[in-house]
């Protein structure tokens, strides 16, 4: 940590702030790799895409599931790496293609999944920040995250860069000028999110618990924001879709459990609003990040100007500011969460 102008600036915050630039560079340099993967997938026409990942990258995989299923209509299965490693009995991948996502590319389990896909003669691609890693070497084509070295343990720029690369791949598979133009507008939307004042949401969180609710595309953001506050402030944070929340966890809601709602526009908004009214009537402590809401002490507006499918990128950036502020308010150093290292080598 270094102190600058009276405020504490740590690496996590620096990396959060670097995202508009990182994402703009990705748009400049990243299309060739995604076009190559898209061409390969168009030739192969897999019945389904299997995506392997852990941690923040697993939330990028959740985003991939919604994006590829809804926009490209390709079924997506999230891999259970232990079937490949611990149990040594991987599924037969005939008819499938594999995409592995990892910042470091060094976690043995995720690399093992890609290696097994190659062994079975299946197309295997990697979305990775370190192309020289074991995962990078295992893949047929690498899509580089191109985020530069990430020094803070909690991921920020590699997460949003992963999402952007996935959106670029979706666009390359089913080109559409309007979607392409929206992708080009993502860095500006992230800059807008960083100016949204999302840090103030931290003032609404007492205690050691948080629920984060999204629906559809924003389920990935809910998972990622929940992990950020867990890593940086040691909260137990549960991420759920509206529907899964209604099927049980809603029973845990009371005024002591802060609930963060992620309200992007689009078809999922009506459901989010219904849940919001119900929680309000029960006296829940609500926090909100939304595209169209009226800002107040507990509601942050991020005017993304983007189609719903791209809003998880700026919403994640707003969530990072919230997580950072929560740690700062509690006197914790988000760069060095207890019990975690930058590369987690699970098998």
């Amino acid at each position: 940590m270094k102190v600058s102008g009276g405020g504490v600036v740590n690496v996590f915050l620096e990396e959060i702030r670097s995202q508009p630039e990182v994402l703009a560079r990705r748009l400049d340099q990243g299309w060739a790799a995604v076009e190559e993967v898209a061409a390969r997938l168009r030739r192969e026409r897999p019945a389904a895409l299997m995506v392997a990942a852990r941690g923040s990258s697993d939330h990028a995989a959740t985003y991939a599931k919604y994006l590829f299923e809804i926009r490209n209509r390709i079924p997506v299965a999230l891999a259970a790496p232990s079937a490949f490693t611990v149990y040594g009995s991987p599924p037969r991948l005939a008819g499938l293609a594999m995409l592995a996502i990892s910042q470091s590319g060094a976690s043995p389990d995720v690399a093992a999944v890609a290696e097994e896909a190659r062994r079975q003669g299946r197309p295997a691609f990697a979305l990775v920040n370190d192309a020289r890693s074991r995962l990078g070497r295992a893949a047929e084509v690498v899509i580089p995250m191109g985020a530069g070295r990430e020094r803070s343990v909690p991921a920020s720029k590699t997460y949003t860069s992963s999402l952007l690369c996935l959106a670029m791949l979706s666009c390359a598979l089913d080109p559409d000028p309007a979607f392409r133009a929206a992708i080009e507008a993502v860095p500006a939307a992230v800059a807008e999110a960083l100016a949204s004042g999302a840090s103030r949401l931290a003032d609404g969180v007492e205690g050691r618990r948080l629920a984060v609710i999204g629906r559809g595309y924003q389920l990935a953001t809910a998972q990622e924001v929940a992990l950020k506050v867990t890593e940086t402030s040691y909260l137990l944070a549960e991420a759920r879709s509206v529907a899964d929340f209604m099927h049980g966890p809603i029973a845990a809601v009371d005024p002591d459990l802060p609930v963060l709602l992620l309200e992007a526009g689009g078809p999922a908004l009506a459901d989010m609003r219904r849940l919001e009214r119900r929680l309000e009537s029960e006296g829940a402590c609500l926090l909100r990040i939304g595209d169209t809401l009226r800002p107040d002490a507990r509601s942050v507006r991020v005017r993304t100007g983007l189609p719903e499918s791209l809003t998880p990128i700026p919403f994640a950036a707003a969530g990072q500011l919230f997580a950072h502020a929560l740690a700062a308010r509690r006197g914790l150093d988000p760069d060095r969460p207890r019990g975690l290292r930058k590369i987690t080598e699970t098998t």
Copy 2:
């Protein structure tokens, strides 16, 4: 609730205790339906199976993923129902088969997924307790849970019956006399679990938070036990695999956060034990349900005598007793959780 012999007996506890009988009846009557589905799947040879479910049934879907991928080597994708309903843009299911799991069969989103599979000309099966439901009518073949009416809001017998039916289907797909014999021993193993004294684990839980950790096959149990304590005692409870826990949530561990470890035998045990030693050295408050451990105030031994792939059934029963005891200790009525009804109609 009724008071019987000095203790409070509610419907949840009655239904928990009925499970050995319910499961034995399933073994008597259930093979024809799973054989029919297995024959259809063998003819069809799908590249992957998509499984659609919500709530407790979604945890049965997690079990199906590990079981079918490891034992039958069929890739499994868990459906995102909102792609089919909210977004109205379902994935192309060519080459896939569909299995929908639901106690009531009445949740519109899960039924809609099965209906869409039929519309696309794909094989669609339902594992359901009410065969006359919308989901039951949509399916090509129904596998009945056969659990009888479940009156308590938190599922118990329909969950273990779902897991047993999935194991029977796995066996029908790849017959093996040893696995078949182990399946026949499940009701006795569940009776053993109900006599394990798992209720005493409730004495180790103060506060409003819990983490439940499994690995591989026991991830489903972790999810189900976490949901049970949320529904019955309003805890915020997080379920994770060991690997996912290491990639972030482990930072939230301190002596105030009880962590329940599910330690079945098999290849996953070494990983569980490594995590256990690490958490112990950090002073975490550990509770354990295990197959081979030494019982004490915070460790419950369930001698299942089963292969790891079937241990989630008796382990879930032990977890139900724990959840029931936790509610009783806090003076809550598990039959009627606040904010929940038996049939949740999400779209």
